[in-house]
Symmetry: C2
Subunit: 434 residues, 2 copies
């Protein structure tokens, strides 16, 4: 097993704001960015671990600096020393006796934790010669639970409960894996509905994506009731009534406003409203969900939920119909798997947040773990997809007929082409010089 | 009114870890630190605004970098342009379309927001020639509400409700101010009970502080039930049964563990258990509070609560008996005042978190605002005090007979002596060279 000899950060940014790709009601001009942690090892084949966290531009440098501040927890360690007590190692990052004050377990320091944690999983999987989802599937329930820090969760998920869930899911694991490799991972697409796009662009994109096999779409809303009704009408007219349509206002409403606004978007057969208010407002989401139940519009959130403790409460309060964990908002794959297990306890479908840069590459593994290892059904689950920036990845996410193709390359699919690390480097890469 | 021409950051740290001052169950070796935002103006008298956020060492540089990243929201602005629409200006910081991804409103980016916001209040108050609490008292209810961003709060506190509260508190405002200046602000002291202190040091400190007039004490707990019982017994034996005694475990327990553990600390007549579990666990605090009601031990939290939305829920869920907002964990004085108003709606006493470096200097203003402007009674309220590091401040907090003396110097009491900015500068100041 290799020894980690160095950690290098890379501040990588794409100028997506030029064409308003990714624009929504709270983020008018995102430049999709990634703060990378690259682990160099003494492995004879030069194996590296690549992990990143996603941001939308300014501040990506702060996350890189936070990764550097945490580097002493990983540099100089043998990989098997880390993986031998991964929960303990994970807690050493999140409970650093001085750095934890900056969170704890939220914001810049937790985003940085995710980059490092995901880089370790990437390295571990490459060492095993497996894609991360298959590495996780190869662990025994005892091994997998030993990677999870269940602190603060014992009122809903303790070690025994986690083991029971994983043991119950053992039978059929191989069958589910084979089947998923044949069917692909159910997905929906966000790329037709960015808020800044003009009507004709939305119509054309809907037409093209439908032709490509997409049957589940999402659009951004939150400008005005009239504008949102107009956007929903355009998409329904173009797509027909048989496709799934979701809406996402990116946190711009107060609780009473969310209820009132969404009642006026009734009639478009919307599957969910995403992030209807502050991501911190567990009880607010619960109130919105209760109020909207007569409309059939369900409530989804998670991409800005900081950690497993907030997800625990979203589940306890029956605040959400869909749980949209982000692969690097929480502290990397270990915390994500913990959240998958809690969602299974409450029987709430996980539909991971993706898009951005690289998130699609991560979440395909998570969706596979949820189904294959945790044993969640595919019913009523769908994983987000956005179509840009995949060309930068060594092993990009692939879509066939509106579903993710289960990844096969060893690692966590996070590594960029060497030339993309150069061209996207902020502020000196070619992306930023022009 | 001055124009803000530059923002300078200062990474200031005290080596408190040398003597375990400030040590607790989650933070074994804090170096009390402050990330300063210093606003330079074109004012004829060279007026500056000084604001900081508190950290405990490593990572203070990250907060300074985040202050720099937000500086464009304040540099080049006229002070009256900011104070004329302070809620709008505040939201421009917290909703920066790219930087908000790093929070939103939590962690490093929100700590940095607080430093800048508090520096603006310091400047505004110096310009008015008033201590901040008196500046706030001099504003009309309409002016004060115009400084508050009430986003996400309308289910418990909208503009009309905020105005009603402040108008109702107008009668008697001057009388309360005069009275408070005579009696001082009720306080308790934490300095005898740091976790790393040996028994004889705790005993001697209790004896000295009691002799100085202190009648309300707090100790850290969370090592083991036996060790905590021992610490409580030592302090009760030394102090007698007539003083208030509180305990603080700094987030180290799960919910069931907190309940079980605290039941075993029954019998020491403890006023509250502080931070019994994750600061994000609103529903967990509510469960602990319900379970401990038969013991009479009440529940307090807040120093790690990220923002007003989480405080809203702590109040809605009846999760806390005491609300311990931090002056710079949330987004500066504007958000603190919003929280004071919400606490008034729910009739929950605010007992601000202090200690650290500079927090005592801030919170004396907040306690005065709560009583004088918001109209909260003094009953069952107490503000934290810790006795170290005040010598670095130009206008340090002053204690008489266990109560804060209401501050009189213009500003927010945040400014350090020029020589302290030099000696504490990390890593080149004399504090760190030795």
């Amino acid at each position: 097993m290799p020894r980690i000899v160095a950690l290098t950060t890379r501040d990588v940014r794409a100028r997506t704001s030029r064409h308003l790709d990714g624009s929504d009601a709270a983020h008018a001009d995102p430049d999709y960015s990634a703060a990378y942690a690259i682990l160099t090892t003494d492995h004879v084949d030069g194996l590296q671990g690549h992990g990143f966290t996603f941001t939308i531009g300014r501040g990506n440098d702060l996350v890189c600096a936070a990764i550097d501040a945490l580097a002493h927890h990983v540099v100089g360690r043998d990989l098997d020393e880390i993986t031998g007590d991964m929960a303990g190692w994970w807690r050493s990052l999140t409970s650093d006796s001085q750095l934890r004050w900056l969170g704890p377990e939220k914001g810049v320091i937790h985003l940085a934790t995710a980059a490092i944690v995901n880089a370790v999983w990437d390295l571990w999987a490459k060492t095993a010669g497996l894609p991360v989802w298959q590495l996780v599937a190869s662990l025994t329930p005892e091994q997998l639970v030993s990677t999870l820090d269940l602190r603060y969760l014992s009122d809903v998920l303790d070690r025994d409960r986690a083991l029971d869930l994983l043991r119950d899911a053992r039978p059929g694991l191989d069958v589910r894996a084979s089947s998923l490799q044949q069917t692909g991972i159910p997905a929906y697409i966000t790329s037709a509905g960015w808020l800044g796009y003009p009507d004709d662009k939305v119509q054309q994109l809907c037409r093209d994506m439908y032709a490509d096999g997409w049957r589940s779409f999402k659009t951004k809303v939150g400008i005005s009731v009239a504008a949102d009704q107009h956007r929903c009408r355009i998409m329904r007219d173009e797509l027909g009534d048989d496709v799934q349509l979701m809406v996402d206002c990116n946190q711009v409403w107060d609780v009473p406003q969310a209820i009132e606004w969404m009642r006026q978007l009734d009639g478009f057969d919307l599957r969910w409203i995403e992030e209807p208010t502050s991501p911190d407002d567990v009880l607010g989401h619960a109130a919105i969900r209760r109020a909207l139940q007569p409309t059939g519009i369900r409530v989804a959130t998670g991409e800005h939920v900081a950690n497993r403790v907030v997800f625990k409460q979203l589940l306890q309060a029956e605040a959400i119909d869909y749980l949209q964990a982000d692969a690097c908002r929480v502290g990397g794959l270990n915390e994500v798997i913990t959240i998958l297990l809690m969602a299974r306890v409450f029987d709430v479908p996980v539909c991971c947040h993706a898009g951005g840069i690289g998130l699609c590459e991560y979440v395909q593994h998570i969706a596979a773990i949820d189904h294959v290892v945790v044993g969640a059904p595919l019913t009523d689950r769908t994983t987000e997809y956005a179509s840009h920036l995949h060309e930068h990845f060594l092993h990009p996410a692939r879509i066939e007929r509106g579903a993710y193709v289960v990844p096969t390359a060893p690692g966590y699919s996070a590594e960029l082409h060497p030339e993309s690390y150069e061209s996207l480097l902020y502020p000196t890469g070619s992306e930023w010089r022009s």
